[in-house]
């Protein structure tokens, strides 16, 4: 066993290995993998609690199904790690060629100070503000000082989108990407890019931790995120949350004073966010099921086709994709489109085809709302009042529009059978941000 691989990194081992490693590394930090009470087991890696009866194996031990994807934790095992030593060699260089707008530069300087002073901060940056670039100067300074750095996002798409940009900006630094099904085994690097779930495998490892698109984390699991972040960062470390739509939990931390807050309300090209148009179509679902295209949708689509405008059409359920695709195929025979959903095996290819403008439209579920940018795109959300579309999801979907300097405006349309609370909040938040930006 290479000791570097254990720096700040939790491994699950059985008793024999644990003993062998303890002889090998006197500094080894050991804790039991699970805590047992009469009826409940608590996983020490993810803090999930399960009734003993539900998670007992025939051999008698207990396991944690909650964090199974990170490797199974059993009650007869141990979680071990070595203290983070920051053993990094090799040059650090900022190989990024771009420039920052004055507003971005100001935010970048602030981020640098947050990292340096080991503060906790929430940066509320509008969709399309260019927040990745704003991290570069701060990250560069931290790397140069030999700090260990991680960027984590709840969504793998965001990580995959970030990786090439980060690699380009820090060409001399190796970046380890960690997510669920990855083929490459873990090894020790100064720079880690991972899903927030993967943070559970670290213990007091990072001097600088950035949580990108923190709002993508399901609200119900806020506690879990909080725990993972707390475990993965060093006791003295900086933590920066980035979001376009902060949820109540983060804002509560701000009002309690444990988190400072700053805004970046302006997009890098200086244009405001597109405000959604809401259309009431009471029977859109029934019509669709009967094989009719709801007339509002039909009008919107005709307009898009006429303007040769590419667009994303979001629906709340996978089951709606097929009937909708059939109708679109019949009514708009020239339209080049396809459907895509979260577990779609061809998802990456389809998104790529859309980016290369081989397709004009994508019919999709909520998965594409973040991290994915298209140059010139408009958005329709069908069934925007459905429960799956949270306020932050709606803001994010609307935020797909007008990301590029050459196409800074565009239409966002919501079609609904009634106005949901989330829709009202989303419109309100978009207006609020535009107002803050001086529009």
């Amino acid at each position: 066993m290479n000791c570097e691989a254990l720096f700040g990194r939790l491994e699950i081992v059985d008793q024999t290995t644990c003993k062998a490693w303890r002889d090998l590394f006197p500094e080894l930090i050991v804790q039991p993998a699970m805590l047992l009470t009469n009826t409940v087991v608590t996983c020490q890696r993810c803090q999930a609690r399960h009734s003993k009866k539900r998670v007992q194996l025939p051999s008698g031990t207990y396991y944690c199904p909650t964090c199974l994807l990170l490797g199974r934790v059993c009650s007869n095992e141990y979680l071990v790690n070595l203290p983070e030593k920051n053993c990094f060699k090799g040059p650090t260089e900022l190989t990024w060629q771009g420039t920052l707008t004055p507003a971005q530069a100001e935010a970048a300087e602030m981020i640098k100070q947050i990292f340096k002073q080991h503060r906790q901060h929430l940066l509320w940056a509008v969709t399309g503000a260019g927040k990745t670039e704003m991290l570069f100067p701060g990250l560069f300074a931290a790397l140069k000082q030999g700090k260990r750095v991680a960027i984590a996002s709840p969504r793998i798409d965001v990580c995959l989108e970030l990786l090439p940009r980060l690699q380009q900006a820090f060409a001399k630094t190796e970046i380890m990407l960690l997510y669920g099904d990855q083929p490459e085994p873990y090894h020790y690097t100064q720079f880690v890019l991972c899903t927030t779930h993967q943070l559970l495998r670290f213990y007091q490892a990072f001097d600088v931790l950035v949580i990108d698109e923190v709002d993508a984390f399901p609200f119900a699991q806020d506690q879990q995120l909080h725990f993972a972040v707390g475990q993965a960062r060093k006791k003295t470390s900086a933590c920066l949350y980035l979001t376009a739509t902060p949820g109540p939990a983060l804002l509560r931390q701000v009002s309690k004073g444990s988190l400072s807050l700053s805004y970046l309300p302006r997009r890098y090209h200086g244009h405001p966010l597109a405000l959604p148009h809401c259309h009431l179509a009471l029977r859109w679902y029934q019509q669709l099921m009967k094989g009719q295209l709801p007339s509002v949708l039909n009008h919107l689509l005709e307009d898009k086709v006429q303007r040769r405008q590419s667009f994303l059409l979001f629906v709340p359920k996978i089951a709606l994709l097929e009937p909708l695709a059939k109708l679109l195929g019949n009514n708009f025979s020239d339209l080049k489109f396809t459907t895509v959903y979260a577990a779609d095996p061809k998802r990456a290819e389809k998104v790529q085809a859309m980016r290369q403008e081989k397709l004009t439209a994508l019919l999709t579920t909520t998965i594409l709302e973040r991290g994915v940018t298209f140059k010139n795109i408009e958005v329709i959300v069908l069934g925007s009042d459905d429960g799956v579309f949270t306020m932050s999801a709606l803001v994010q979907m609307a935020g797909r529009v007008g990301r590029h300097r050459d196409y800074p405006t565009g239409r966002v349309d919501f079609i609904c059978a009634g106005y949901s609370c989330a829709m009202k909040q989303a419109s309100k938040q978009i207006k609020q941000i535009n107002k803050k930006a001086g529009f």
């Binding site: 998670v55 194996l57 025939p58 199904p65 199974r72």
Partner: protein, 228 residues
Amino acid sequence: MRCLLCQQSFIQSLTLADIFYFRALTTSPICLNCQRKFLRIRPNLACSGCGRLQTQQGLCQDCLTWQKNYPQLLHNRALFSYNAAMQDFFKQYKTSGDYQLSTCFTSVLGQFFKKVSADIYVPVPTDTRSYQKRGFNPVCGIFGAVVPLYDCLNKRELPVKQAHKNRGERLAMAQPFQANMDKCRPLARKQIILLDDVYTTGRTLFHARDCLLKAVPGLKITTVTLAR
């Protein structure tokens, strides 16, 4: 409830008959969307030797090859095709060790064993090391809640994991099973079904059957696997 495979919450749809006969208690812990991804093999579209899904009648190519050494084929019945969804299931169940998933097919298997039955059901065993590591026998997990299992075989520990072997190496594999003679004695003149999770090459099941036949000559043995 929450689907064991995709973690989405779903509502079990009950028919009037389900409520009437309290059948809800045995409905699936996986959602309809996930259930649809598994491909059920109907007996009239299966190879009569190994149970694989095929379009033509009779024996498949692999079974014709087996027949040269084993005139008496296994007459395996498999419930599902070993498609991508089934591979994912086994990855999470066996490789990751998610024992909860052992209940995924309980209700389907329950229906199946109403029609296909035997006197005694013998699960294919795992060796001690794998059992220690995994904490369960995957075959017993899948079938244990459906039919009474009778343990009368042991498996020797093998140096290389079967999953890492290629087809040729697997076929050449030496007999890994040993019969527990005391436990085999009561089997005489009984109708036996051997149970395994997946029929891959058939090697494992032929070995298990050989082992039982050697212990109790003349036994009537057929086999059932969850997937082929």
